[in-house]
């Protein structure tokens, strides 16, 4: 369903130029249903959309943007599981006048101006160090590793009943001076650092 949603959004929002990508998604999704392929891709397609949607429910401190038109950066640390879907999702999108761009980092030290950072499962081993490193940055950290939120990540994707649900660590977000809309909290589960 999320794929269809992505597809339709692509169809409606981006017109013909997105059509190819959308058709690809559809084909991919249809094949997946038919051949019971691993669900990773579909899952990450949804997660890509969610990452984009976070931009609409989170407010960053004013200093995080160099200008009103400065891009809102969605970063991916470690292996990129989105397989280009993330780029596709945020293509030509704007949130509060900020165009969205995707940046990929291999190491935490590479992270420059970044607002939403997806920390790939490939970085699970280094997570504590990464989070500690990002502690003073106003970056919304998102991940799907086990205990991601409990360990200090802000939003974790959890798959429940074949649906992707959110776990949010409010303390971590507050520490990063991020304001998460209470609306986002409604469908999410709140966790605190150290607990799950």
């Amino acid at each position: 369903m999320a794929i269809l949603k992505a597809f339709t959004r692509a169809w409606t929002n981006h017109g013909a130029k997105s059509l190819g990508a959308a058709a690809l998604v559809l084909l991919f999704w249809a094949g997946q249903e038919a051949a019971a392929q691993p669900v990773v891709s579909r899952e990450y397609q949804v997660k890509a959309v969610f990452l984009f949607n976070f931009a609409q429910f989170v407010d960053w401190p004013s200093g995080t943007f160099s200008s009103a038109q400065a891009p809102l950066v969605i970063g991916v640390l470690g292996d990129d599981p989105f397989d280009g879907f993330l780029d596709e999702t945020i293509h030509d999108e704007k949130v509060n006048d900020h165009p969205l761009i995707v940046q990929r980092y291999r190491r935490v030290e590479e992270i420059g101006a970044c607002h939403i950072l997806f920390i790939s499962q490939s970085e699970s081993g280094r997570l504590d160090r990464i989070l500690a490193r990002l502690k003073d940055r106003n970056i919304l950290t998102v991940g799907d590793a086990e205990d991601f939120a409990r360990r200090g990540g802000m939003i974790r994707f959890v798959t429940e009943n074949n649906k992707i649900r959110l776990r949010i660590n409010m303390d971590a977000a507050k520490a990063a001076e991020l304001t998460i809309s209470s609306r986002l909290l409604r469908p999410a589960k709140i966790v605190t650092t150290g607990k799950d």
């Binding site: 409606t12 609409q56 649906k163 909290l185």
Partner: protein, 605 residues
Amino acid sequence: MPFRNIPIQRKLMVIILLTSVVVMMLMRGAFFTYEFLTFRKTTVRQLSTLGEVIAANSTAALAFDNQDDARETLAALGAERHIMVACLYDQQGKLFAKYPAGLSDAAFPAALENDGYRFERAYLAGFQPVVQKGRRLGTLYLQFDTNSVLHEWLWGSIEIAIAAMAVVILIAYALSRTLQKQISQPILALAETARAVSERRDYSVRATKLGHDELGLLTDAFNQLLAQIHAQKTALDEHAIVAITDPRGRITYVNDKFCAISKYSREELIGQDHRLINSGHHSKEFIRDLWTTIAQGRVWKGEICNRAKDGSHYWVDTTIVPFLKPDGKPYEYVAIRADITERKRAEEQIHLLNQELEQRVIQRTAQLEAANQELEAFTYSVSHDLRAPLRHIDGFSELLRKQVESVTDDKGRHYIKTISDSAKRLGRLIDELLLFSRMGRSALNQARVDMRTQIDEIIRELQPDTQGRQIQWQIGELPAVQADPVMLRQVWANLLGNAVKYTRHRTSARIEIAHRHDAADGNVFHVRDNGAGFDMQYTDKLFGVFQRLHSAKEFEGTGIGLANVRRIVQRHGGRTWAEGRVDEGASFYFSLPSAASSTRTTTTL
């Protein structure tokens, strides 16, 4: 019963109540309309507010594909029982979450419509965009059961309206009961007074004034009117005998004078037939004419003889005025009478006296005529019979004169001459008396008379007397008249003869004959001379028989001439008169009525 006929108290109450209810209803109606419009607006606003809240709460659910959360959010609508259905569509317009959750998809609009709220037949429905930071995440659809709300609201309104109306009617009724008395009481009092006045014909009562408003003015005016009527009635009662009867002649009202003259008490008269006082003096036709006249609505006037209780009769000068209903038929007769019994009695006496007088005049006239005729016959026969002996005296005195002339002396001859002269004079006297008598009896033979011709002839005949005298004749224009020529000639002969005779001593005599027309007397002729004249104190005697102002020695005459003139002129319908002064002359006038005269003769032209 038509509204105009209901009592004024009820009318006022109905007006007050009706006005209150109508005003109340109009106000309610206006308020209701306003409330209805407000209600719709409010409902839309409330629903859109609710929609916005739900939409706001649904953003995350849509953004993060959480149908459970969306359902949960929608479930909150359970608090508003008028929300029939609600649902969320995702960005692609696909149904995302439903309320109530168990309802089949068919209960929701299959396709999205324009944003905004619209009133459908039984509900208010609307599509509300679900937006997060300017991005549209989906659409919320709400359906609000306006029908039942409207129903509830309507019934509530009607209940309030009915309750308010009941209260208003109660208060208005209570107020009107007290307040209407302010107006109805004086009017009712006035009406009561008016009724009492007209029923009892008692104009001395007065309406009580209860205030200084228009009704007070009306009361004053009414009382003033009563006072005027009372004054007029009092004045009328002072003078007249008044009775009022119904159309059948039954007495409904009498005044004191009526009672006094009829000698009946009021109690005996009221309700009685007016024929009670009929005297039987008048004919059936007279009575029938009276009733016909008044029954036709015309006023009858006349003198009636009535009978009093004691049987005596009295006369009244009566005016009966019928008062008519709108259909022209009388509803009452007002008879106003004046007592004329005394006058009638006096008239009766005068009538009797006149009759007696007339009788006496006829008797006397007959006596006089008889005496006159006797006298005339006597005069005639005497005159006639006297002629024969007179002729003998005259004749034989002549024979005697001849016989004794030679033998007698002067004395004897004088005696004989005196006898002869006296006989001749007596003869003339008798002739004139006969003429006078004839003038009185003979018929008038009217003809056209040319005065001037007659006068000229007479002057010629008078030649023997005028011979040697200087007489200046002045004859004016004289009209031709219609008269007996022989008689008129006598008139002129007498008047001109007199003029010549009485101017005998004048060296220069002047005799004037003239005519004038007079409105009263018609043609007036006169003969004026400058002769001996007469004393005006004897003017009446001039025209009498044997009345002479001069001695036979002075001026000879029989004393019948002017009497004859008067008789002739009188027989022609004219009159005679004279003016004069001793030694200065006399004027003799006679008139002939215009009818007796004709146009002037051509000779005078």
